[in-house]
């Protein structure tokens, strides 16, 4: 899957989760987004799993530090 497609689908998920457009860059982290707290994080991860039909392991989630990490993981694991 192309990186551009991953980012555009992620942008939609972020918009739905935070009720506003979020400018996503690989370096974006939870600190950069208003309302990205632990609860929003759970919903975000679950929505990403559903959207890309993938399943994160507990250590995957721990390793991911930024939107870039998330997009890379999706690129490696998602088939559609």
């Amino acid at each position: 899957m192309q990186e551009a497609e991953i980012y555009s689908r992620l942008a939609k998920i972020f918009r739905d989760t935070f009720d506003e457009d979020v400018a996503l860059k690989p370096s974006t982290t939870a600190q950069d987004v208003d309302g990205w707290d632990s609860f929003a994080h759970i919903n975000l991860i679950l929505t990403v799993e559903r959207e890309f039909a993938i399943k994160f392991t507990t250590s995957d989630v721990e390793r991911m530090r930024s939107v870039g990490d998330l997009a890379t993981f999706i690129g490696q694991h998602a088939s559609n």
Binding site: I42, L46, T58
Partner: protein, 470 residues
């Protein structure tokens, strides 16, 4: 809990621990899974009588599959025990209990006949052609639905029939079919005609003296369901699945009949409604109202609120909407506080007559206010006993208590709600005079002079009991 006078909802424990023994885990002493099972069982008895109710997540997790409710990875990562995917369900279960506490649970299950209570059309297929009973899976499904309706009836839900049929055809299976589980006498209101169903539902609610929003409508026909949704949006309309085998589940899981405590009145309700229809036919033959009331041989027994009657008292306070002067709602803990308040007088009234026992049907709460007057905090009555002079007899009791305490004035309050216009003029009719006209909320205040009060003659014999509620 007593300090806050609140109701507690206690969540049960999800059985999240894996088995170490397998099928017969119960044989393994010290197994966490077995401990959770025992804990949940213990909770059931521990909460009784303490104003606490269970939110049984373990039961619903079993229905849906535990993996829908709990993801061990989410628990480890975020301590999120209940999966966010079932959060809407969880919210629904929670709100059902709050609704039940506030008296918003439905009271009546309205059932269609053809293709709902049995398969086929009685008018076309005849008594031997309809599908009902053992021998076919569909026939058993319809029996299962009827058995479930009967169980609801036995715990206090009213059953009504609303069918487009000739009445004689509609009644015939109830009288003649060997596999009908429901009998005509189980039905509190039977309507079979060719009127539109919205009118018929209005008629059913009026006949049973309940709000239209206490009806749950079960009909296999999407046209009728949509008509009711459009005409009577306050009626709960179940989206029945196509397969009759799933009807019962659909009703059970809808949660409209959520209940928190079973009272003796619940168990006897259907019988009381049957007695009511007999009273109605007597009224039609009696030539004058006084003669009719006299012929009922009514006996009103009363006592103060007590522990034995508590469940019924809380239930009445929270679900009576129409004959309710102030519509103040109190939790179990708050009612319990009233029992020990020296400035509060309470009455629970039970009405019997020659057709049966109506149970506890009216409650009054009065408070001695700063001026030394007796102020009616709450006055409510079940609409089943409207027009029987119970409120007149109740006032006699309040006046007697006021005289005992050398109180000179009784203050009545009417607080309007969308549902209680029926009692707007009650204080005026009982001889109170208006002392404060409508404020912003439309509340009026009334006063009755105790000394000059002359008891009016009613056809009710009043008896004081130690425990009217038990």
């Amino acid at each position: 809990m007593d300090a806050f006078a609140c109701t507690v909802l206690q969540q049960t424990v999800l059985p999240v621990f894996p088995d170490a023994f397998g099928n017969n885990e119960h044989r393994l002493a010290g197994s966490p899974q077995r401990f959770v099972e025992e804990l949940n069982r213990e909770l059931e008895t521990a909460v009784d009588g303490r104003g606490t109710h269970l939110l049984s997540v373990h039961k619903y997790a079993t229905l849906d599959g535990l993996s829908q409710w709990h993801d061990p990875a989410l628990w480890l990562r975020t301590r999120q025990e209940i999966h966010p995917g079932v959060a809407p369900l969880y919210g629904d279960f929670l709100v059902r209990m709050i609704a039940a506490q506030l008296g918003r649970s439905a009271k009546c299950l309205v059932l269609d006949l053809d293709n709902t209570l049995w398969g086929g059309v009685i008018g076309d297929d005849g008594i031997h052609g309809i599908v009902l009973g053992p021998g076919s899976p569909a026939g058993e499904a319809f029996c299962a639905l009827q058995s479930y309706a009967l169980r609801l009836k036995e715990r206090g839900v009213l059953l009504a029939i609303c069918s487009k049929n000739d009445e004689q055809n509609a009644l015939s299976p109830f009288e003649l079919h060997a596999h009908m589980v429901l009998k005509r006498t189980d039905i509190a209101c039977f309507v079979a005609n060719w009127n539109d169903k919205a009118s018929n539902l209005r008629y059913i609610a009026a006949t049973l003296n309940i709000g239209i929003d206490s009806l749950v409508f079960v009909d296999d026909n999407p046209f009728e369901r949509n008509l009711i949704r459009q005409e009577l949006p306050e009626v709960a309309v179940l989206e029945l699945p196509e397969d009759p085998a799933l009807y019962t589940d659909c009703i059970a899981r809808s949660g409209y009949f959520e209940a928190l405590a079973l009272t003796a009145e619940d168990r006897a309700r259907a019988e009381q409604y049957r007695a009511n229809s007999e009273r109605e036919s007597l009224r039609n033959t009696a030539t004058d109202l006084t003669g009719y009331l006299r012929s009922l041989a009514m006996q009103l027994s009363w006592s103060s609120f007590d522990e034995a009657g508590l469940q019924r008292i809380v239930q009445l306070i929270n679900k009576t909407n129409q004959f309710n002067l102030t519509t103040r709602r109190y939790s179990e803990a708050e009612v319990r506080e009233l029992l020990h308040d020296a400035d509060v007088l309470t009455w629970q009234l039970r009405l019997k007559d020659r057709f049966g026992d109506n149970g506890v049907i009216s409650l009054l709460i009065a408070r001695l206010n700063r001026e030394g007057d007796l102020e009616m905090d709450s006055w409510l009555m079940s609409c089943r006993v409207l027009g029987r002079e119970v409120e007149q007899a109740a006032l006699d009791l309040v006046v007697a208590a006021a005289k005992n305490r050398a109180v000179r004035k009784i203050i009545g309050i009417y607080r309007p709600t969308p549902k209680n216009t029926i009692v707007k003029d009650m204080y005026s009719k009982l001889g109170f005079s208006l002392i404060q006209d409508e404020d912003q909320e439309g509340t009026t205040r009334w006063a009755l002079d105790v000394v000059s009060y002359v008891p009016r003659h009613t056809q009710i014999q009043t008896v004081e009991l130690l425990h009217a509620g038990s």
